[in-house]
């Protein structure tokens, strides 16, 4: 594809302003985190000193805070399959063109466009021990409990409550992705399968899912990243207390309150590698040659 008269210089000129900012505020932090991970950083004097793997050793030995944070981050990943199911279900529900489905689409999407901080203020009120959620549960189940759960301050419930908040907030986003994915399922194939006597499950497994593979991959990738970086949601709901501190919450507190930027950098580096590893695994399992495309038969 020769483009007469177009020099490489033009391309770099077009990209220069963006690349300058991208290098400063996106690439540099990644490199800097990697560098910090192996250093002591003294904020006041601005001095730094290489400390080998001391920051990682510190993390490995921090049973009180780091180990739970790691566990909570892993548990938080359970929102990924949950979100896929809810979003796929919602997409199936709002796809038929009946009166009002457009309205429901907008309604299901509306939590996505609210600010996390503002939505969290509402849910803090709803999840109080005498809040509306407990009333709702009591009136639906008919059970009045003497000690209704304190969703956000009780370590037994707080992580689950933040995960449900997360699903409420973002399900609409993935619904739109799945909606777009459903469009890419060829109707003629579905009809042919039906004529051949394929049941609903067989059609889903062998026609719909393979056709939607790119969207499923995209949606899983995006929600995995979103779940790993769950942080604002937690800070504004529980402040990181009551057994809800995740890796990023830990890094934030260690960095900004403990002034220990080296350890925060080590967490950031670990999380970066973990993110890339998960992304690679998902591309492997759900990608072009993964289980979705082959219908379980290899």
């Amino acid at each position: 594809m020769a483009r007469p008269g177009v020099s490489e210089r033009t391309a770099w000129l077009f990209m220069a302003p963006f690349l300058l900012l991208f290098a400063t505020f996106t690439l540099w932090p990644v490199l800097f985190n990697g560098w910090l991970a192996f250093h002591d950083y003294f904020l006041l004097s601005g001095n730094t000193a290489w400390n080998g793997f001391a920051n990682f050793v510190f993390l490995a030995e921090d049973k009180q805070y780091f180990h739970p944070a790691l566990l909570h981050s892993l548990i938080f990943l359970l929102v990924v399959p949950l979100l896929q199911l809810v979003a796929f279900g919602l997409a199936l529900l709002v796809r038929p063109r009946r009166p009002g489905t457009g309205f429901f689409r907008a309604l299901f999407y509306s939590p996505v466009i609210l600010s996390v901080a503002i939505a969290a203020v509402v849910w803090q009120q709803l999840l109080l021990p005498d809040g509306l959620v407990n009333w709702l549960i009591a009136s639906v189940t008919g059970l009045a409990r003497h000690h209704p759960p304190d969703w956000l301050n009780d370590a037994d419930y707080a992580l689950a409550a933040t995960m449900l908040f997360f699903c409420w907030k973002y399900a609409g986003y993935y619904m739109v992705l799945y909606l777009a994915g459903l469009q890419s399922v060829p109707r003629s194939l579905l009809e042919a399968a039906m004529l051949d006597g394929a049941g609903a499950w067989a059609r889903l497994r062998h026609v719909t899912l393979p056709a939607m593979q790119p969207v499923i991959l995209l949606s899983t990738l995006l929600s995995t990243i979103a779940a790993l970086k769950a942080f604002q949601e937690i800070i504004v709901l529980t402040g990181g207390d009551a057994g809800t501190s995740t890796l990023l919450v830990y890094a934030y507190f260690v960095g900004f309150y403990g002034q220990n930027f080296g350890v925060a950098g080590a967490v950031a580096l670990l999380l970066t590698l973990f993110c890339l590893l998960l992304a690679w695994l998902q591309m492997h399992w759900l990608g072009e040659h993964g289980v979705l495309r082959h219908g379980g038969v290899k």
Binding site: R3, A11, R97, F104, A117, S139, L248
Partner: protein, 283 residues
């Protein structure tokens, strides 16, 4: 033929309604509490969902005691400048990546993809240190600048330009148009829906961003709505739930109105609509 389908239609709407309750009741309750002059019923289900002694007194107090107008202006300024600048940066970059062959273009694109995969929150501490060294903490530049380096925008614009019909562009090149003219006169006008979508997404994201502005801004009068209201609500005014709820409505209203006006960019289904239009005209 329609008759045996009726129970299915009923079940469909029932399922929609159940999810609708789940999605909407937090804000409905908020609205109802904010409009209730008498807050004594707000914890009772289902009475709480209907305003009790309706009135606007809590909104009056919010406007009197929280600098809402100032926060709104800040949010508007920050979100508009982020939207305009980041789109202006992403457009030529996406164009270069898709239309001008150069060494390293694939590597650069992969770099963008990786950047999109990493949690942006990881950059908070390094960027905080960068801005403190530049002596730009507590300024609007500190809020806006990192948001401009959006790999997502570049990715989106590259995809948009990639789908353009090559013949038109090549014809213009043969006629002697420079790449710069080509971009703004020929390529961009054909990508208008994608550009609008990118602008709206960026605007909403910037409008709702809480964490980064909360980290770099110290002066209350510089804060955008999401940060200012959240700080006020969890701090000095947290004692009056009614007022908190009125403030939540004040903060959410501009976003919700904007969403209703532009919702086709978020949840619209242009492909399906187009397909159905063609099939309708075909009949």
């Amino acid at each position: 033929m329609n008759h045996p389908l009726r129970p299915a239609v009923g079940a469909h709407y029932l399922a929609l309604a159940v999810f609708a309750v789940f999605a909407a009741f937090p804000l409905l309750w908020t609205l109802s509490v904010a409009l209730s002059g008498d807050p004594s019923r707000m914890w009772f289900f289902p009475e709480a969902l209907i305003p009790h002694e309706p009135g606007l007194i809590w909104f009056q107090r919010v406007i009197d005691e929280i600098p809402v107008g100032r926060y709104l202006l800040n949010s508007l300024g920050i979100a508009l400048s982020t939207m305009l600048l980041s789109t202006l940066l992403a457009i030529p970059c996406g164009y270069a990546l898709s239309q001008i062959p150069f060494r390293g273009s694939n590597a650069l694109f992969v770099l963008c993809l990786i950047a999109m995969m990493l949690p942006g929150e990881l950059a908070i501490i390094p960027n905080f240190l960068t801005f403190s060294r530049l002596d730009l903490l507590d300024t609007y530049s500190a809020v806006v600048l990192p948001a401009l380096a959006s790999a997502f925008g570049v990715f989106l614009m590259r995809q948009a330009f990639q789908d353009l019909p090559q013949e038109t562009l090549d014809a213009a090149r043969v006629d002697g148009a420079s790449e710069w003219q080509l971009l703004w006169r020929i390529a961009l006008p054909q990508c208008r829906p994608m550009v609008s979508a990118l602008m709206i997404f960026t605007f909403v994201q910037s409008w709702n961003d809480y964490l980064w502005p909360a980290v770099v801004l110290k002066d209350r009068l510089k804060m955008p709505l999401a940060v200012g209201i959240f700080n006020d609500l969890t701090g000095p005014f947290s004692t009056s739930t009614s007022m908190v709820m009125a403030a939540v409505i004040v903060a959410a209203l501009p976003v919700l109105v904007g969403f209703v006006l532009t919702q086709r960019y978020f949840v619209g289904n242009p492909k399906q609509d187009a397909e159905e239009n063609t099939s309708n005209t075909g009949q």
